[in-house]
Protein backbone atom coordinates (compact mmCIF):
# COMPACT_ATOMS: atom_id res chain seq x y z
CA UNK A 1 0.00 0.00 0.00
CA UNK A 2 2.63 2.48 1.05
CA UNK A 3 4.81 1.48 -1.90
CA UNK A 4 1.97 2.43 -4.25
CA UNK A 5 1.32 5.75 -2.51
CA UNK A 6 4.97 6.81 -2.43
CA UNK A 7 5.36 8.25 -5.97
CA UNK A 8 2.23 10.32 -5.52
CA UNK A 9 3.51 11.69 -2.23
CA UNK A 10 6.86 12.46 -3.80
CA UNK A 11 5.19 14.29 -6.64
CA UNK A 12 3.11 16.29 -4.18
CA UNK A 13 6.22 17.22 -2.19
CA UNK A 14 8.05 18.35 -5.33
CA UNK A 15 4.96 20.30 -6.39
CA UNK A 16 4.95 22.23 -3.14
CA UNK A 17 8.71 22.81 -3.52
CA UNK A 18 8.23 24.36 -6.96
CA UNK A 19 5.39 26.37 -5.49
CA UNK A 20 7.80 27.77 -2.91
CA UNK A 21 10.30 28.68 -5.63
CA UNK A 22 7.53 30.48 -7.55
CA UNK A 23 6.50 32.38 -4.44
CA UNK A 24 10.11 33.38 -3.75
CA UNK A 25 10.50 34.65 -7.33
CA UNK A 26 7.24 36.60 -7.11
CA UNK A 27 8.28 38.26 -3.84
CA UNK A 28 11.68 39.12 -5.32
CA UNK A 29 10.08 40.73 -8.38
CA UNK A 30 7.54 42.67 -6.40
CA UNK A 31 10.03 43.79 -3.71
CA UNK A 32 11.08 47.00 -5.53
CA UNK A 33 7.42 48.01 -5.86
CA UNK A 34 6.71 47.18 -2.22
CA UNK A 35 9.78 49.23 -1.30
CA UNK A 36 8.51 52.14 -3.42
CA UNK A 37 5.14 52.07 -1.64
CA UNK A 38 6.73 51.75 1.80
CA UNK A 39 9.17 54.61 1.11
CA UNK A 40 6.31 56.79 -0.12
CA UNK A 41 4.64 56.32 3.28
CA UNK A 42 7.72 57.35 5.28
CA UNK A 43 8.82 60.79 6.35
CA UNK A 44 11.76 62.18 4.34
CA UNK A 45 14.20 61.51 7.21
CA UNK A 46 13.04 57.90 7.66
CA UNK A 47 13.11 57.31 3.90
CA UNK A 48 16.79 58.19 3.53
CA UNK A 49 18.40 55.93 6.14
CA UNK A 50 20.99 53.20 5.81
CA UNK A 51 20.27 50.47 6.85
CA UNK A 52 16.60 50.79 5.86
CA UNK A 53 14.13 51.65 8.62
CA UNK A 54 11.30 49.18 8.21
CA UNK A 55 9.68 49.95 11.56
CA UNK A 56 9.45 53.73 11.19
CA UNK A 57 6.08 55.41 11.59
CA UNK A 58 3.92 55.76 8.50
CA UNK A 59 2.77 59.13 7.22
CA UNK A 60 0.95 60.52 4.20
CA UNK A 61 3.24 63.57 4.04
CA UNK A 62 4.85 62.39 0.79
CA UNK A 63 1.45 62.27 -0.91
CA UNK A 64 0.38 65.59 0.63
CA UNK A 65 3.58 67.17 -0.70
CA UNK A 66 3.05 65.62 -4.14
CA UNK A 67 -0.50 66.83 -4.47
CA UNK A 68 0.91 70.26 -3.92
CA UNK A 69 -0.36 71.57 -0.59
CA UNK A 70 2.41 74.14 -1.07
CA UNK A 71 2.84 74.50 -4.82
CA UNK A 72 -0.68 75.29 -5.97
CA UNK A 73 -1.95 73.37 -9.00
CA UNK A 74 0.08 70.24 -8.29
CA UNK A 75 -0.09 67.20 -10.54
CA UNK A 76 -3.78 67.39 -11.52
CA UNK A 77 -3.34 69.09 -14.92
CA UNK A 78 -0.67 66.53 -15.88
CA UNK A 79 -2.86 63.62 -14.81
CA UNK A 80 -5.85 65.04 -16.68
CA UNK A 81 -3.71 65.57 -19.81
CA UNK A 82 -2.47 61.99 -19.68
CA UNK A 83 -5.98 60.69 -19.21
CA UNK A 84 -7.28 62.79 -22.13
CA UNK A 85 -4.46 61.76 -24.46
CA UNK A 86 -4.66 58.07 -23.53
CA UNK A 87 -8.45 57.71 -23.65
CA UNK A 88 -8.99 59.80 -26.78
CA UNK A 89 -6.22 58.05 -28.70
CA UNK A 90 -7.51 54.62 -27.60
CA UNK A 91 -10.97 55.50 -28.96
CA UNK A 92 -9.50 56.79 -32.21
CA UNK A 93 -7.36 53.65 -32.55
CA UNK A 94 -10.43 51.44 -32.14
CA UNK A 95 -12.43 53.47 -34.67
CA UNK A 96 -9.66 53.01 -37.25
CA UNK A 97 -8.45 49.52 -36.34
CA UNK A 98 -11.72 47.59 -36.16
CA UNK A 99 -12.85 48.29 -39.76
CA UNK A 100 -9.29 47.76 -41.03
CA UNK A 101 -8.98 44.46 -39.18
CA UNK A 102 -12.40 43.44 -40.51
CA UNK A 103 -11.19 43.94 -44.07
CA UNK A 104 -7.98 42.05 -43.36
CA UNK A 105 -9.57 39.06 -41.69
CA UNK A 106 -13.20 38.52 -42.63
CA UNK A 107 -13.31 39.90 -46.16
CA UNK A 108 -9.64 39.63 -47.10
CA UNK A 109 -8.55 41.97 -49.87
CA UNK A 110 -5.89 40.62 -52.16
CA UNK A 111 -2.38 40.84 -50.72
CA UNK A 112 -3.78 41.33 -47.24
CA UNK A 113 -0.60 40.02 -45.67
CA UNK A 114 1.45 42.76 -47.37
CA UNK A 115 -0.85 45.38 -45.88
CA UNK A 116 -0.54 43.72 -42.50
CA UNK A 117 3.25 43.81 -42.83
CA UNK A 118 3.14 47.47 -43.72
CA UNK A 119 1.36 48.15 -40.43
CA UNK A 120 3.85 46.09 -38.44
CA UNK A 121 6.86 47.58 -40.23
CA UNK A 122 5.92 51.09 -39.05
CA UNK A 123 6.14 49.78 -35.49
CA UNK A 124 9.63 48.39 -35.93
CA UNK A 125 11.30 51.62 -36.87
CA UNK A 126 12.62 53.91 -34.17
CA UNK A 127 10.15 56.65 -33.29
CA UNK A 128 13.01 59.04 -32.70
CA UNK A 129 13.74 59.22 -36.46
CA UNK A 130 10.40 60.94 -37.10
CA UNK A 131 10.51 63.19 -34.08
CA UNK A 132 12.20 66.20 -35.71
CA UNK A 133 9.82 66.64 -38.69
CA UNK A 134 6.85 66.18 -36.38
CA UNK A 135 8.31 68.89 -34.16
CA UNK A 136 8.88 71.26 -37.09
CA UNK A 137 5.43 70.70 -38.59
CA UNK A 138 3.78 71.13 -35.20
CA UNK A 139 5.77 74.32 -34.64
CA UNK A 140 4.65 75.80 -37.97
CA UNK A 141 1.02 74.83 -37.44
CA UNK A 142 1.04 76.16 -33.89
CA UNK A 143 0.33 72.70 -32.47
CA UNK A 144 3.19 72.55 -30.00
CA UNK A 145 2.11 72.16 -26.38
CA UNK A 146 -1.26 70.82 -27.47
CA UNK A 147 -2.69 67.65 -26.01
CA UNK A 148 -4.52 66.78 -29.28
CA UNK A 149 -1.22 66.49 -31.09
CA UNK A 150 -0.32 63.80 -28.56
CA UNK A 151 -3.64 62.08 -29.29
CA UNK A 152 -2.69 61.85 -32.99
CA UNK A 153 0.81 60.59 -32.27
CA UNK A 154 -0.30 57.99 -29.75
CA UNK A 155 -2.86 56.79 -32.27
CA UNK A 156 -0.17 56.23 -34.87
CA UNK A 157 1.98 54.53 -32.24
CA UNK A 158 -0.70 52.00 -31.23
CA UNK A 159 -2.66 51.54 -34.46
CA UNK A 160 -0.36 48.85 -35.95
CA UNK A 161 -0.47 46.67 -32.83
CA UNK A 162 -4.24 47.20 -32.56
CA UNK A 163 -4.81 46.15 -36.19
CA UNK A 164 -2.76 43.00 -35.60
CA UNK A 165 -4.57 42.14 -32.39
CA UNK A 166 -8.07 42.87 -33.72
CA UNK A 167 -7.36 40.86 -36.86
CA UNK A 168 -6.71 37.69 -34.90
CA UNK A 169 -9.74 38.31 -32.66
CA UNK A 170 -12.06 38.95 -35.62
CA UNK A 171 -10.76 35.88 -37.43
CA UNK A 172 -12.48 33.86 -34.68
CA UNK A 173 -15.98 35.01 -35.72
CA UNK A 174 -17.72 32.14 -37.54
CA UNK A 175 -18.24 33.09 -41.18
CA UNK A 176 -21.67 31.41 -41.16
CA UNK A 177 -23.10 34.12 -38.88
CA UNK A 178 -21.88 36.86 -41.21
CA UNK A 179 -23.22 35.11 -44.29
CA UNK A 180 -26.59 34.67 -42.63
CA UNK A 181 -26.68 38.39 -41.83
CA UNK A 182 -25.78 39.27 -45.42
CA UNK A 183 -28.59 37.05 -46.72
CA UNK A 184 -31.00 38.81 -44.35
CA UNK A 185 -29.96 42.04 -46.07
CA UNK A 186 -27.88 43.60 -43.28
CA UNK A 187 -25.52 46.31 -44.56
CA UNK A 188 -21.98 46.83 -43.31
CA UNK A 189 -22.94 49.23 -40.47
CA UNK A 190 -25.59 46.81 -39.22
CA UNK A 191 -23.18 43.88 -39.37
CA UNK A 192 -20.72 45.87 -37.28
CA UNK A 193 -23.29 47.00 -34.72
CA UNK A 194 -25.14 43.72 -34.36
CA UNK A 195 -22.42 41.08 -34.82
CA UNK A 196 -18.80 42.15 -35.13
CA UNK A 197 -18.63 44.46 -32.12
CA UNK A 198 -20.67 42.37 -29.63
CA UNK A 199 -18.91 39.11 -30.55
CA UNK A 200 -15.41 40.56 -30.37
CA UNK A 201 -16.03 42.63 -27.21
CA UNK A 202 -13.38 40.77 -25.14
CA UNK A 203 -10.83 41.33 -27.90
CA UNK A 204 -11.75 45.00 -28.08
CA UNK A 205 -11.27 45.25 -24.32
CA UNK A 206 -7.82 43.63 -24.53
CA UNK A 207 -6.79 45.94 -27.36
CA UNK A 208 -8.03 49.05 -25.53
CA UNK A 209 -6.17 48.07 -22.38
CA UNK A 210 -2.85 47.68 -24.17
CA UNK A 211 -3.28 50.93 -26.15
CA UNK A 212 -4.14 52.75 -22.93
CA UNK A 213 -1.07 51.39 -21.10
CA UNK A 214 1.36 52.30 -23.90
CA UNK A 215 -0.10 55.82 -24.31
CA UNK A 216 -0.11 56.50 -20.59
CA UNK A 217 3.54 55.38 -20.31
CA UNK A 218 4.96 57.26 -23.32
CA UNK A 219 7.61 59.86 -22.56
CA UNK A 220 9.97 60.71 -25.46
CA UNK A 221 7.37 62.47 -27.63
CA UNK A 222 5.66 64.02 -24.66
CA UNK A 223 8.98 65.40 -23.46
CA UNK A 224 9.79 67.14 -26.73
CA UNK A 225 6.30 68.20 -27.85
CA UNK A 226 4.40 69.13 -24.71
CA UNK A 227 5.03 72.14 -22.57
CA UNK A 228 3.33 74.04 -19.82
CA UNK A 229 -0.32 73.43 -20.71
CA UNK A 230 -0.19 69.92 -22.13
CA UNK A 231 2.47 68.25 -19.97
CA UNK A 232 1.70 64.57 -19.36
CA UNK A 233 2.16 62.61 -16.14
CA UNK A 234 5.47 60.84 -17.05
CA UNK A 235 7.08 64.15 -18.07
CA UNK A 236 5.74 65.82 -14.95
CA UNK A 237 7.31 63.02 -12.94
CA UNK A 238 10.82 63.72 -14.27
CA UNK A 239 10.59 67.50 -14.00
CA UNK A 240 9.51 67.01 -10.45
CA UNK A 241 12.84 65.43 -9.46
CA UNK A 242 15.20 67.82 -11.19
CA UNK A 243 13.51 71.08 -10.29
CA UNK A 244 13.19 70.49 -6.58
CA UNK A 245 16.19 68.37 -5.66
CA UNK A 246 15.61 64.93 -4.31
CA UNK A 247 12.93 64.18 -1.78
CA UNK A 248 12.78 60.41 -1.80
CA UNK A 249 9.38 59.94 -0.11
CA UNK A 250 7.78 62.52 -2.37
CA UNK A 251 9.31 61.02 -5.52
CA UNK A 252 8.08 57.56 -4.49
CA UNK A 253 4.61 58.92 -3.76
CA UNK A 254 4.59 60.54 -7.21
CA UNK A 255 5.69 57.31 -8.87
CA UNK A 256 2.95 55.38 -7.05
CA UNK A 257 0.23 57.87 -8.06
CA UNK A 258 1.28 57.99 -11.72
CA UNK A 259 1.55 54.18 -11.94
CA UNK A 260 -1.70 53.51 -10.11
CA UNK A 261 -4.18 53.77 -13.03
CA UNK A 262 -2.18 51.30 -15.12
CA UNK A 263 -1.59 48.94 -12.17
CA UNK A 264 -5.29 48.86 -11.28
CA UNK A 265 -6.41 48.41 -14.90
CA UNK A 266 -3.79 45.71 -15.51
CA UNK A 267 -4.61 43.73 -12.37
CA UNK A 268 -8.34 43.95 -12.99
CA UNK A 269 -8.03 42.61 -16.52
CA UNK A 270 -4.96 40.37 -16.39
CA UNK A 271 -6.49 37.55 -18.45
CA UNK A 272 -7.31 40.04 -21.19
CA UNK A 273 -3.79 41.40 -20.92
CA UNK A 274 -2.36 37.92 -21.58
CA UNK A 275 -4.69 37.44 -24.52
CA UNK A 276 -3.83 40.83 -25.95
CA UNK A 277 -0.07 40.53 -25.56
CA UNK A 278 0.00 37.22 -27.38
CA UNK A 279 -1.79 39.12 -30.19
CA UNK A 280 -4.86 36.99 -29.78
CA UNK A 281 -2.88 33.85 -30.58
CA UNK A 282 -4.36 32.15 -27.54
CA UNK A 283 -7.91 31.29 -26.71
Amino acid sequence: MSAVAAPGARRRRSASLWGLVAWAAALLFVAPIAWMVLTSLHSETDAATNPPSLGAGLTLDGYREFFGAATGAGPWPALVNSLTASLASTLLVLALAIPAAYTLSIRPVRKWSDVLFFFLSTKMLPAVAGLLPVYLVAQNLGLLDNVWLMVLLYTSMNLPIAVWMMRSFLAEIPVAILEAAAIDGAGLPAVFRRIVIPVSAPGIAATSLICFIFSWNEMLFARVLTGVRSVTAPVFLTSFVTSQGLFLAKVCAAAVVVSLPVLVAGFAAQDRLVQGLSLGAVK
Binding site: G19, A22, A25, A26, V30, P32, W35, M36, T39, A48, N50, P51, P52, L96, A100, T103, V109, R110, K111, F117, F118, F119, S121, T122, K123, M124, L125, P126, A127, V128, A129, G130, L131, L132, P133, V137, L153, M157, L159, V163, W216, M219, L220, V224, P234, L237, T238, V241, L246, L248, V251, C252, A255, V256, S259, V262, V274, L277, A281, V282
Partner: protein, 324 residues
Protein backbone atom coordinates in the same frame (compact mmCIF):
# COMPACT_ATOMS: atom_id res chain seq x y z
CA UNK B 1 6.56 55.09 -35.83
CA UNK B 2 8.40 56.32 -38.86
CA UNK B 3 9.58 54.98 -42.12
CA UNK B 4 9.01 52.19 -44.46
CA UNK B 5 10.10 48.68 -44.65
CA UNK B 6 10.77 49.63 -48.24
CA UNK B 7 10.92 46.11 -49.62
CA UNK B 8 7.47 45.39 -48.28
CA UNK B 9 5.84 48.61 -49.47
CA UNK B 10 7.49 48.45 -52.86
CA UNK B 11 5.97 45.05 -53.24
CA UNK B 12 2.56 46.36 -52.17
CA UNK B 13 2.83 49.28 -54.57
CA UNK B 14 3.94 47.09 -57.47
CA UNK B 15 1.07 44.71 -56.96
CA UNK B 16 -1.40 47.55 -56.40
CA UNK B 17 -0.67 48.91 -59.90
CA UNK B 18 -1.11 45.45 -61.38
CA UNK B 19 -4.39 45.24 -59.56
CA UNK B 20 -5.45 48.70 -60.80
CA UNK B 21 -4.88 47.60 -64.39
CA UNK B 22 -6.81 44.43 -63.77
CA UNK B 23 -9.67 46.42 -62.21
CA UNK B 24 -9.84 48.85 -65.13
CA UNK B 25 -10.15 46.06 -67.65
CA UNK B 26 -12.66 44.25 -65.48
CA UNK B 27 -15.02 47.26 -65.44
CA UNK B 28 -17.90 46.67 -63.04
CA UNK B 29 -15.67 44.70 -60.63
CA UNK B 30 -13.82 47.88 -59.79
CA UNK B 31 -16.46 49.50 -57.61
CA UNK B 32 -16.92 46.28 -55.71
CA UNK B 33 -13.18 46.02 -55.11
CA UNK B 34 -13.16 49.54 -53.69
CA UNK B 35 -16.16 48.85 -51.50
CA UNK B 36 -14.32 45.81 -50.20
CA UNK B 37 -11.24 47.88 -49.43
CA UNK B 38 -13.09 50.89 -48.01
CA UNK B 39 -13.04 49.92 -44.31
CA UNK B 40 -9.27 49.53 -44.52
CA UNK B 41 -8.61 52.93 -46.06
CA UNK B 42 -8.93 55.28 -43.06
CA UNK B 43 -6.35 53.35 -41.06
CA UNK B 44 -4.01 52.98 -44.02
CA UNK B 45 -4.21 56.65 -45.01
CA UNK B 46 -3.73 57.72 -41.38
CA UNK B 47 -0.60 55.60 -41.01
CA UNK B 48 0.89 56.81 -44.27
CA UNK B 49 0.27 60.48 -43.42
CA UNK B 50 1.42 60.35 -39.80
CA UNK B 51 4.40 58.01 -40.18
CA UNK B 52 5.63 58.03 -43.78
CA UNK B 53 5.49 61.76 -44.56
CA UNK B 54 7.59 62.74 -41.54
CA UNK B 55 10.15 60.18 -42.62
CA UNK B 56 10.34 61.70 -46.10
CA UNK B 57 10.90 65.05 -44.39
CA UNK B 58 13.65 63.51 -42.26
CA UNK B 59 15.26 62.23 -45.44
CA UNK B 60 15.21 65.71 -47.03
CA UNK B 61 16.52 67.44 -43.91
CA UNK B 62 19.34 64.90 -43.66
CA UNK B 63 20.89 66.41 -46.79
CA UNK B 64 20.70 69.95 -45.39
CA UNK B 65 22.99 72.05 -43.30
CA UNK B 66 20.44 73.11 -40.76
CA UNK B 67 21.25 74.08 -37.23
CA UNK B 68 18.55 76.00 -35.41
CA UNK B 69 21.22 78.06 -33.67
CA UNK B 70 22.58 79.38 -37.02
CA UNK B 71 19.51 80.13 -39.15
CA UNK B 72 21.50 81.98 -41.86
CA UNK B 73 23.48 78.92 -42.87
CA UNK B 74 20.53 76.83 -43.96
CA UNK B 75 20.96 75.06 -47.32
CA UNK B 76 21.70 71.79 -49.01
CA UNK B 77 25.09 70.22 -48.38
CA UNK B 78 24.85 66.81 -49.97
CA UNK B 79 26.32 63.99 -47.96
CA UNK B 80 28.18 66.04 -45.33
CA UNK B 81 25.84 65.00 -42.54
CA UNK B 82 26.23 61.36 -43.43
CA UNK B 83 30.03 61.70 -43.44
CA UNK B 84 29.75 63.30 -40.01
CA UNK B 85 27.50 60.54 -38.76
CA UNK B 86 29.78 57.74 -39.90
CA UNK B 87 32.86 59.60 -38.69
CA UNK B 88 31.36 60.22 -35.28
CA UNK B 89 32.90 57.91 -32.66
CA UNK B 90 30.11 58.67 -30.17
CA UNK B 91 27.48 57.55 -32.64
CA UNK B 92 29.34 54.39 -33.51
CA UNK B 93 29.65 53.66 -29.80
CA UNK B 94 25.94 54.20 -29.32
CA UNK B 95 25.17 51.71 -32.10
CA UNK B 96 27.15 49.12 -30.18
CA UNK B 97 25.47 50.11 -26.91
CA UNK B 98 22.05 49.71 -28.50
CA UNK B 99 22.91 46.25 -29.81
CA UNK B 100 24.32 45.08 -26.45
CA UNK B 101 21.50 46.52 -24.41
CA UNK B 102 18.76 45.14 -26.64
CA UNK B 103 20.25 41.68 -27.11
CA UNK B 104 21.18 41.35 -23.45
CA UNK B 105 17.87 42.53 -22.03
CA UNK B 106 15.77 40.48 -24.47
CA UNK B 107 17.79 37.28 -23.94
CA UNK B 108 17.97 37.48 -20.14
CA UNK B 109 14.32 38.41 -19.71
CA UNK B 110 13.31 35.70 -22.20
CA UNK B 111 15.17 33.03 -20.20
CA UNK B 112 13.85 34.30 -16.85
CA UNK B 113 10.37 34.64 -18.32
CA UNK B 114 10.52 31.06 -19.58
CA UNK B 115 11.55 29.82 -16.12
CA UNK B 116 8.73 31.72 -14.44
CA UNK B 117 6.19 30.58 -17.03
CA UNK B 118 7.20 26.94 -16.44
CA UNK B 119 6.81 27.45 -12.67
CA UNK B 120 3.41 29.07 -13.11
CA UNK B 121 2.29 26.25 -15.38
CA UNK B 122 2.37 23.93 -12.34
CA UNK B 123 -0.36 23.72 -9.76
CA UNK B 124 0.42 25.17 -6.35
CA UNK B 125 -1.29 27.16 -3.65
CA UNK B 126 -1.78 30.83 -4.47
CA UNK B 127 -0.84 30.48 -8.14
CA UNK B 128 -3.22 33.26 -9.21
CA UNK B 129 -1.77 35.66 -6.65
CA UNK B 130 1.80 34.81 -7.71
CA UNK B 131 0.93 35.60 -11.32
CA UNK B 132 -0.63 38.89 -10.31
CA UNK B 133 2.48 39.86 -8.33
CA UNK B 134 4.77 38.89 -11.21
CA UNK B 135 2.87 41.05 -13.71
CA UNK B 136 3.32 44.17 -11.59
CA UNK B 137 6.78 45.33 -12.83
CA UNK B 138 5.44 45.50 -16.39
CA UNK B 139 2.60 47.75 -15.25
CA UNK B 140 4.71 50.35 -13.43
CA UNK B 141 5.11 53.44 -15.65
CA UNK B 142 8.65 53.12 -17.17
CA UNK B 143 9.76 56.55 -15.99
CA UNK B 144 8.52 55.78 -12.48
CA UNK B 145 10.37 52.48 -12.56
CA UNK B 146 13.57 54.20 -13.72
CA UNK B 147 13.26 56.77 -10.91
CA UNK B 148 12.62 53.96 -8.44
CA UNK B 149 15.76 52.07 -9.50
CA UNK B 150 17.94 55.15 -9.59
CA UNK B 151 16.95 56.77 -6.31
CA UNK B 152 15.39 54.13 -4.09
CA UNK B 153 17.44 51.05 -5.06
CA UNK B 154 20.83 51.98 -6.61
CA UNK B 155 21.58 55.10 -4.56
CA UNK B 156 24.89 54.42 -2.79
CA UNK B 157 23.95 56.28 0.40
CA UNK B 158 20.38 55.30 1.14
CA UNK B 159 19.34 52.92 -1.64
CA UNK B 160 17.75 49.61 -0.74
CA UNK B 161 20.61 47.51 -2.16
CA UNK B 162 23.32 49.07 -0.04
CA UNK B 163 20.93 49.32 2.88
CA UNK B 164 20.38 45.58 2.70
CA UNK B 165 24.16 45.01 2.55
CA UNK B 166 24.63 47.17 5.69
CA UNK B 167 21.87 45.28 7.46
CA UNK B 168 23.33 41.88 6.50
CA UNK B 169 26.85 42.83 7.56
CA UNK B 170 25.56 44.21 10.89
CA UNK B 171 23.80 40.91 11.45
CA UNK B 172 27.23 39.28 11.47
CA UNK B 173 28.68 42.05 13.64
CA UNK B 174 30.63 43.84 10.91
CA UNK B 175 30.76 47.62 10.83
CA UNK B 176 32.20 47.86 7.32
CA UNK B 177 29.77 46.59 4.73
CA UNK B 178 30.68 47.01 1.05
CA UNK B 179 28.80 50.01 -0.37
CA UNK B 180 29.26 49.94 -4.14
CA UNK B 181 28.12 52.80 -6.33
CA UNK B 182 26.04 50.59 -8.63
CA UNK B 183 25.40 52.96 -11.52
CA UNK B 184 28.97 54.28 -11.69
CA UNK B 185 30.66 50.90 -11.40
CA UNK B 186 28.43 49.06 -13.89
CA UNK B 187 26.35 51.63 -15.81
CA UNK B 188 25.14 49.42 -18.66
CA UNK B 189 24.44 46.56 -16.28
CA UNK B 190 22.45 48.87 -14.02
CA UNK B 191 20.31 50.11 -16.92
CA UNK B 192 19.97 46.55 -18.21
CA UNK B 193 18.94 45.12 -14.83
CA UNK B 194 16.10 47.63 -14.47
CA UNK B 195 14.91 46.79 -18.00
CA UNK B 196 15.12 43.04 -17.38
CA UNK B 197 12.98 43.53 -14.27
CA UNK B 198 10.45 45.45 -16.36
CA UNK B 199 10.34 43.11 -19.39
CA UNK B 200 10.55 39.66 -17.79
CA UNK B 201 6.83 39.72 -16.88
CA UNK B 202 5.99 40.57 -20.51
CA UNK B 203 7.95 37.53 -21.74
CA UNK B 204 6.43 35.38 -19.00
CA UNK B 205 2.86 36.33 -19.98
CA UNK B 206 3.34 35.44 -23.64
CA UNK B 207 5.11 32.14 -22.85
CA UNK B 208 2.55 31.23 -20.21
CA UNK B 209 -0.18 31.70 -22.81
CA UNK B 210 1.80 29.37 -25.06
CA UNK B 211 2.18 26.73 -22.36
CA UNK B 212 -1.51 26.78 -21.60
CA UNK B 213 -2.46 26.24 -25.22
CA UNK B 214 -0.39 23.00 -25.28
CA UNK B 215 -2.32 19.75 -25.41
CA UNK B 216 -1.82 17.69 -22.25
CA UNK B 217 -2.40 14.41 -24.07
CA UNK B 218 0.98 14.32 -25.81
CA UNK B 219 2.72 15.03 -22.49
CA UNK B 220 0.76 12.27 -20.74
CA UNK B 221 1.55 9.82 -23.55
CA UNK B 222 5.25 10.68 -23.36
CA UNK B 223 5.19 10.18 -19.57
CA UNK B 224 3.58 6.77 -19.99
CA UNK B 225 6.31 5.88 -22.49
CA UNK B 226 8.84 6.70 -19.76
CA UNK B 227 10.10 10.13 -20.88
CA UNK B 228 11.65 12.13 -18.04
CA UNK B 229 10.92 15.78 -17.32
CA UNK B 230 13.88 17.04 -19.35
CA UNK B 231 12.93 14.95 -22.38
CA UNK B 232 9.34 16.21 -22.24
CA UNK B 233 10.62 19.78 -22.07
CA UNK B 234 13.22 19.36 -24.81
CA UNK B 235 11.15 17.41 -27.34
CA UNK B 236 7.56 18.50 -26.66
CA UNK B 237 7.36 21.77 -24.74
CA UNK B 238 10.18 23.66 -26.44
CA UNK B 239 9.10 22.91 -30.05
CA UNK B 240 5.54 23.88 -29.14
CA UNK B 241 6.77 27.13 -27.57
CA UNK B 242 8.92 28.07 -30.57
CA UNK B 243 6.46 30.52 -32.12
CA UNK B 244 5.69 32.05 -28.75
CA UNK B 245 9.40 32.49 -28.02
CA UNK B 246 9.80 34.15 -31.42
CA UNK B 247 6.81 36.42 -30.87
CA UNK B 248 8.07 37.43 -27.41
CA UNK B 249 11.59 38.12 -28.69
CA UNK B 250 10.27 40.12 -31.65
CA UNK B 251 7.90 42.33 -29.66
CA UNK B 252 10.41 42.68 -26.82
CA UNK B 253 13.13 43.85 -29.25
CA UNK B 254 10.77 46.34 -30.90
CA UNK B 255 10.24 48.06 -27.57
CA UNK B 256 13.68 47.64 -25.93
CA UNK B 257 15.63 48.87 -28.97
CA UNK B 258 13.69 52.15 -28.74
CA UNK B 259 14.20 52.53 -25.02
CA UNK B 260 14.63 56.12 -23.98
CA UNK B 261 13.17 56.39 -20.49
CA UNK B 262 15.66 54.22 -18.60
CA UNK B 263 18.75 55.65 -20.30
CA UNK B 264 17.47 59.22 -19.91
CA UNK B 265 16.56 58.83 -16.24
CA UNK B 266 19.25 56.53 -14.86
CA UNK B 267 22.41 57.88 -16.52
CA UNK B 268 21.37 60.69 -18.91
CA UNK B 269 23.35 58.80 -21.52
CA UNK B 270 26.59 59.09 -19.53
CA UNK B 271 29.20 56.40 -18.81
CA UNK B 272 28.80 54.70 -22.19
CA UNK B 273 25.08 54.02 -21.89
CA UNK B 274 23.88 56.41 -24.62
CA UNK B 275 21.87 54.29 -27.04
CA UNK B 276 20.73 55.48 -30.47
CA UNK B 277 17.40 57.00 -29.44
CA UNK B 278 19.14 58.98 -26.71
CA UNK B 279 21.99 60.12 -28.99
CA UNK B 280 19.59 61.36 -31.67
CA UNK B 281 17.46 63.07 -29.04
CA UNK B 282 20.57 64.89 -27.82
CA UNK B 283 21.79 66.09 -31.22
CA UNK B 284 18.31 67.35 -32.03
CA UNK B 285 17.04 68.62 -28.70
CA UNK B 286 20.25 69.87 -27.10
CA UNK B 287 22.62 70.61 -30.00
CA UNK B 288 19.81 71.74 -32.34
CA UNK B 289 21.72 70.22 -35.25
CA UNK B 290 18.69 69.23 -37.32
CA UNK B 291 20.61 68.07 -40.38
CA UNK B 292 22.89 65.77 -38.47
CA UNK B 293 20.13 64.39 -36.23
CA UNK B 294 18.11 63.58 -39.36
CA UNK B 295 21.04 61.82 -41.03
CA UNK B 296 21.52 59.76 -37.87
CA UNK B 297 17.82 58.99 -37.92
CA UNK B 298 17.98 57.82 -41.54
CA UNK B 299 20.97 55.60 -40.74
CA UNK B 300 19.08 54.08 -37.81
CA UNK B 301 16.06 53.43 -40.03
CA UNK B 302 18.25 51.79 -42.69
CA UNK B 303 19.82 49.55 -40.06
CA UNK B 304 16.45 48.71 -38.58
CA UNK B 305 15.04 47.78 -42.01
CA UNK B 306 17.67 45.06 -42.29
CA UNK B 307 16.76 43.64 -38.88
CA UNK B 308 13.04 44.18 -39.44
CA UNK B 309 13.08 42.36 -42.78
CA UNK B 310 14.50 39.30 -41.03
CA UNK B 311 11.94 39.63 -38.24
CA UNK B 312 9.08 40.06 -40.71
CA UNK B 313 10.13 36.97 -42.60
CA UNK B 314 9.89 35.14 -39.31
CA UNK B 315 6.38 36.45 -38.71
CA UNK B 316 5.35 35.52 -42.23
CA UNK B 317 6.13 31.87 -41.49
CA UNK B 318 3.77 32.21 -38.54
CA UNK B 319 1.05 33.56 -40.83
CA UNK B 320 1.56 30.76 -43.32
CA UNK B 321 1.18 28.21 -40.54
CA UNK B 322 -2.04 29.95 -39.59
CA UNK B 323 -3.60 29.96 -43.04
CA UNK B 324 -2.54 26.43 -43.95
Amino acid sequence: MTGTSSAVTEEVRGRASVRAVAARTAGPGRAAAWARRAPLMPALVFMVVVTQLPFVATLVISFMDWNALYPDRRGFTGLTNYADVFGDADLRASVLTTVWLTAGVVLVSLVLGLGLALLLDRRFRGRGLVRTLLIAPFLVVPVASALLWKHALYNPEYGLFNGALTWLWQLFGSERPPQPDWITSMPLGAVGASLVWQWTPFMMLILLAGLQSRSTEAVEAARVDGANAWQVFRFLTLPHLRRYLELAALLGSVYVVQNFDAVFTLTSGGLGTANLPYTIYESFYKAHDYGRASAAGVVVVAGTIVVATLALRLVSTLLKEESS
